[in-house]
Symmetry: none
Subunit: 203 residues, 4 copies
């Protein structure tokens, strides 16, 4: 793992993969059971049947263990995730946004992501790892769909797809993370429509 290199880089060849998996699994279970804030390194070690040092040896902080446990989960599930492409960018985006909102409302997803964000705010190193490992792939999926739409003439040829993606996710994310407003389908639809007005073919 790249972000780990800065940590210590012990001889990875000798690393016990069984222990690593046990730690990541225990971490996931504990977050689901008691919530991130109450998860302790000691509890993870105990649950995983591992010495504390084995955690401290390979991860610089609780945040990185959580991040890696989450990344491991994602990597398992997905193979090649893609957004739906019906040819109708507006419909597709509205669908995706609603699905994202629902995902956020799922406790199994919500708890660990909130957990990570808590740490990311105060830990730039973790933020970097997070953006690289979790956010970037998600964003890339979105950009791929937007590229397809632009190619199909549904977006202005010079539409800034990066900005577009941020305008779609940013307000949604803020509402969710800071609970500054309800996550309704109307909100999602309004957001998609506004963004398409900004980057549509005639703009």
């Amino acid at each position: 793992m790249c972000a780990m290199k800065a940590h210590k880089a012990p001889n990875s060849a000798r690393r016990n993969e069984q222990s690593r998996q046990a730690i990541l699994t225990a971490t996931r279970e504990l977050i689901a059971e008691v919530g991130y804030a109450k998860v302790t390194i000691e509890a993870i070690a105990s649950r995983a049947g591992v010495g504390k040092q084995t955690i401290y040896r390979w991860w610089p902080s609780k945040g990185f263990v959580v991040l890696e446990s989450f990344v491991a989960l994602i990597e398992t599930e997905e193979g090649a995730v893609e957004l739906p492409d019906t040819g109708d960018i507006e419909a597709d985006l509205k669908l995706v946004m609603r699905e994202t909102m629902e995902e956020f409302a799922t406790p199994a997803f919500e708890a660990p992501i909130r957990a990570l964000n808590t740490e990311i705010i105060n830990d730039p190193a973790l933020a970097e790892a997070y953006n690289e490992k979790l956010a970037a792939p998600t964003d890339e999926v979105m950009r791929a769909r937007l590229r397809s739409a632009r190619h199909a003439g549904q977006l202005s040829p010079d539409a800034d797809l990066d900005l577009m993606a941020e305008m779609l996710y940013g307000p949604l994310y803020q509402r969710w993370l800071l609970r500054s407003g309800p996550l309704t389908p109307e909100f999602a639809d309004g957001l998609v429509e506004a963004v398409l007005r900004a980057f549509g073919p005639r703009a």
Copy 2:
């Protein structure tokens, strides 16, 4: 303070205002000095020359102390904050966005806001207090300027100003909070232009 009522409400009449101020000041200083995560109740009490119990008696958690210390600061400074209104909504927004970005880059502002966000993520009660005390007033200022622009015909008559405000702040906030990208003037400008395309008079 509203959010306090749920806590305990001892006899407020007897409350020592000097101690209260000392606590809020100490809290602000400590956050600026060592960062939110490392601020402890014991350190606040010690710095303020106050017993720990005096803090526990009046605030339900560290987050609320921090919130109140920050609210106190804001309330002191501001009287009637308003956005500039030159008549040119695009120029005004670009200016405001740039200023907001600069504010975020100021350590004295950054540290406590990050601090609050850390707590808000996992504490709905605190989030509510935060949104009510800090976010709402800021948003209202923005909405007032947008209303003025709509009235001047620079925005579509049916522009959803709440959504517009969120589309302006959301992407900016996300980049800052999660460090998912650089806060450049170009980013601010592009964001403003896109939002105005979405809600401009012909839309």
Copy 3:
């Protein structure tokens, strides 16, 4: 306790006497059960139903806890300990030496004294406290009996009673502590006879 003053001296007035007794009792029990080397601060705290910090607050090291626990025991038992005085110093000393040997052979006594000696060897401060609190009173009892014998003409008028006491206890103690030889009645008798030849009336 004198030796404690150098440690920290928190406000002793607030000290919880119940906790103190529980700690000393737990310490004694644990030493008897598992031996000094295997007694840990954590085990003492746990057994006493006390926080570790409460031990660290009042004692500078495990050795001092053990010492105080032992002193407390001694102070309870004894009121005015005296050696027997039948008028026959040789008989009395032989009796005392045999009793001391038997005491040393009792696990309940042996374990804690070995414990203390382990620490004393490498801790001058503890050694001082030990000599003052435990050794000195024991020696004084011996010297009192020797004084009586000298007064009765059973010892040379210029007999050095301090040296005499050390010559009685020293070889015995060494055999016991370092297991350099068996603790037999013959050894005790021979030792007493030799010392009396050295300090007897005609010497």
Copy 4:
């Protein structure tokens, strides 16, 4: 080494003598530098440039490593150590006792002997090895000189030389080990004189 046999007895033929020496040397150096209590197997291994297992393979505990390192040192220095024999047992003994006291005051000697005694107290197996390897030879040297004196008529024909040796060393050792009193020449002289009164020719 005899005490080692009970341990494991790997194929000694293959033993790396360089590693053995490096371990013993590192042990001595570390004891001198940081004191016995703070010497760890890991530190010895690291300093000696040796794997931990190489220590555990050949010695049953830290105490035995220290003992052997000390024995090795002694064996190097001495060839045939003997006490001076001027024909005057009192003068010779006083000289030897003073020299012993000075040796005890030398940090290079004091630290490791204290170290060993710490372990001996609680480890009968180590005590046995210690008495056999270090104490017995020293005592035999003393007994040889006493035998010579008895033969020369300076001691009673039936003087118990073992007891005599213990009466000479015991009080001295106790004062030193437990710091129960100062090691002065006067103390040494008084001790020798008393012992000689007890075992002199007319006794």
